[in-house]
């Protein structure tokens, strides 16, 4: 099976340009890249059909080996239609981006950025509880310079106040 060298060279060039454009941040260039990739793939499918031959219209006098392989061309036709639809949709999206944001660039995911900047300390999970909050009167804690029972100390505690001394053990004597 011989392969057309020109087709292969063009295919390689289309793939290279397509991948280069796909990595750009501008949406229009990304779209152009996708179109180049689709067309390069169409050429690849064409190349798998083998050498050029007669049009695959049945004629009794022609030997079977002289016909061109029709299947790849049917596949290319389908893939052209599909890439046409996708291109039209992408153009719609690009226009919408332009209307909404007046720019033609892929934007960052805001929630992703926010999560990435969230500190590992979680106020609800990781805060130290300053006083004994259990219902059972187990211990006394120091409030200023006097000892109070832990269950009473909770009522003196205001957010941000320094009334109750949070000892390293988290309460107790």
């Amino acid at each position: 099976m011989s392969v057309n060298l020109t087709l292969l060279t063009v295919m390689g060039a289309l793939y290279a340009c397509g991948i280069y454009l796909l990595l750009e941040r501008s949406l229009t260039r990304v779209l152009l890249g996708l179109m180049l990739l689709a067309n390069a793939t169409n050429l690849l499918i064409l190349a798998t059909g083998g050498y050029s031959g007669l049009a695959p219209l049945f004629d009794k006098d022609t030997a079977a080996g002289d016909y061109n392989d029709p299947l790849p061309q049917a596949l290319i036709l389908t893939s052209i239609v599909i890439s046409f639809a996708v291109t039209a949709f992408m153009l719609g999206i690009i226009y919408r981006t332009w209307v909404l944001a007046r720019q033609d660039e892929i934007q960052d995911d805001a929630e992703d950025r926010r999560v990435a900047q969230t500190p590992s300390f979680d106020a609800e999970d990781d805060s130290v509880i300053p006083v004994e909050t259990s219902e059972f009167p187990l211990a006394t804690v120091m409030s200023g310079d006097r000892a109070v029972r832990a269950d009473k100390a909770a009522s003196e505690e205001q957010p941000g106040s320094l009334n109750v001394d949070p000892s390293p053990e988290g309460g107790g004597e």
């Binding site: 996708l34 790849p72 949709f89 981006t97 934007q107 995911d109 929630e111 999560v115 969230t118 609800e124």
Partner: protein
């Protein structure tokens, strides 16, 4: 009434329904009724397909009368019909949910008259991908469902949806181009794209070419199924879409990728040539995915990460290529479609009731709406794999198969699987503690709506109009239906596991598939000899 005349209807019915609903675009009520009726009919048809395949074995349909190696062929076997039934049941529930949402909010607020036709096209694409026995037709099926999904994910065209849609569209198109390149290469190497014919002809190629084609197909499907290094796009693009759309995407689209991987691994490239790399990918998918979930505060994003993570379980089952492993993977796919979809539907309800889907804002939902609590709790525990739910049974089956295999890599995956299950429980418990059990005033950024006293509906700019229904009955009802379906998977786990094991046996054996497509006297090539490094070491040790 035989299977060859009715099987194509699974694809044709939704497409006809889409055309009809498109014509009825100015009659929303008729449109809703038509699309629900069409999907119900499709579901009944597919149940019948499953039942008849159960009795009669694999069946093949030649479309247009073209004989198999040349024409397009649809193949109904146990795995594909099981997937059809589960996917149609789930998409019907989501459709009813979406209808309820549209009726509660009023269709005039958003241009969603396009929703029904697009949704039916999506279902047709999914059915086509499950049924087809032709590699290029599989590509066409993928394109049908992807193009419909492009429209659904950017529904309404708001800023965040367009931003997420761009990522999704570009990544999907690239994966489709990769798939098409792989098809071209396969056609160049073998001269056929019929999957049963390929099963015979790929075996005659030399090892290098085979591995190249195998890897290309796996990469293309890996992007669609969101397997770890290729899963970056999923948590970025799914959460911004409307709740029913995210739910159906999470349930179905990645599973179509998993289905394609299963077919590739069992039918086209049997043996364990790439099982090692697949297992490593499965382990990384599980662990990295769930670690991502732990960092999130938005419930939708958190669920998207658990979705990625649990794809790892299915790839693990697939990579073992034993009957036990593959059977457990098939069971897990059915379980995961149901549970993940119902969790996303409940999140949609949480967002409606609580005003936000961020666990920093919502609180006290257990008191506000106990029904919502029950609806969330059951599928959440199911996802985390708490006994006796089907998530536990599926994971147990996978872990047992892994221990049975007994290679060091399999043991690493068993440990990774248990760890992922525990971390899923942690992630889900965080959501539960904050969104349901915490008092509203304890929230980090409390939602003023939840703290405020109920507004007086006699004044204000919406006075006189009916207020938006917070929890419409249709939405709660369809979610409840799906949750009950998930519990039913647990109750009927015995028969389901039998179907899964039988389909795994059929797929690994390949005889029934190849004979159904190519005729009884087609040669079934033997599975290539094992190249598993551990077994080679054992052999040389003796």
């Amino acid at each position: 009434m035989n299977i060859t005349s009715l099987a194509p209807l699974a694809v044709v019915l939704p497409i006809l329904g889409a055309a009809l609903t498109f014509l009825l675009i100015h009659h929303p009520r008729v449109q809703r009724a038509v699309s629900i009726a069409v999907l119900t009919l499709t579901l009944l048809l597919e149940c019948w397909l499953l039942a008849s395949v159960w009795d009669g074995g694999t069946a093949a349909v030649n479309i247009g009368g073209w004989l198999p190696p040349w024409g397009v062929v649809l193949v109904v076997d146990q795995f594909s019909s099981l997937m059809l039934v589960v996917s149609s049941a789930v998409s019907l529930a989501v459709l009813i949910y979406a209808t309820g949402q549209g009726m509660a909010d009023g269709d005039r607020d958003a241009p969603v008259s396009i929703f029904h036709p697009t949704y039916l096209i999506l279902v047709a694409g999914v059915s086509n991908a499950f049924l087809t026995g032709d590699l290029f037709n599989l590509y066409v099926g993928f394109e049908i469902l992807l193009t419909a999904s492009y429209v659904l994910i950017t529904l309404g065209g708001t800023g965040p949806r367009i931003r997420a849609g761009v990522t999704y569209v570009v990544v999907s198109v690239v994966s489709s181009v990769l798939f098409l390149i792989a098809i071209a290469m396969i056609y160049g190497a073998t001269g056929t794209i019929n999957m049963a014919d390929l099963a015979i002809k790929l075996g005659e190629l030399d090892q290098g070419t085979r591995t190249l084609l195998h890897v290309m197909l796996l990469v293309a499907f890996g992007i669609k199924a969101a397997v770890f290094p290729l899963s970056f796009w999923l948590p970025d693009s799914y959460p911004t879409a409307p709740a029913p759309v995210t739910a159906v995407f999470a349930g179905l689209l990645t599973k179509v990728g998993v289905y394609a991987m299963v077919r590739t691994e069992t039918l086209l490239f049997p043996g364990d040539a790439l099982n090692g790399p697949l297992m490593v990918a499965a382990l990384l998918t599980m662990v990295v995915g769930i670690l991502g979930a732990l960092a999130q505060s938005d419930i939708k994003r958190l669920l998207s990460f658990t979705l990625v993570s649990h794809i790892g379980y299915m790839v693990f089952g697939l990579a073992m290529s034993t009957v036990a492993g593959l059977g457990a993977a098939v069971f897990y796919v059915a379980h995961h479609i149901t549970v993940q979809t119902s969790l996303f539907l409940v999140t949609g309800l949480i967002e409606r009731r609580g005003g936000s889907s961020s666990v920093d804002r919502v609180a006290g939902l257990a008191k506000l709406s106990p029904v919502l609590g029950v609806l969330f709790f059951i599928p959440a525990m199911n996802l985390a794999g708490i006994p006796p739910f089907s998530g536990f049974l599926g994971k147990l089956g996978l872990l047992q198969a892994g221990v049975e295999l007994g290679t060091p890599l399999a043991y690493a995956l068993v440990i990774g699987g248990v760890l992922t299950s525990l971390l899923t429980l942690l992630a889900i418990a965080r959501v539960w503690n904050r969104a349901f059990w915490r008092k509203p005033e304890d929230a980090e950024h409390p939602d003023p709506v939840l703290l405020a006293a109920p507004a007086d509906s006699a004044t204000g700019d919406r006075a006189g109009k009916t207020n938006v229904t917070l929890l419409p009955r249709t939405m709660v009802g369809s979610t409840l239906g799906l949750v009950v379906f998930g519990v039913a998977l647990t109750v009927f786990a015995g028969p389901l596991f039998r179907v899964a094991d039988q389909s795994a046996q059929e797929m690994l054996d390949r005889t029934s598939y190849i004979h159904a497509v190519l005729g009884q006297d087609a040669p079934v090539p033997p599975v290539p000899p094992s190249v598993h490094p551990v077994q080679i070491q054992e052999g040389s040790g003796k």
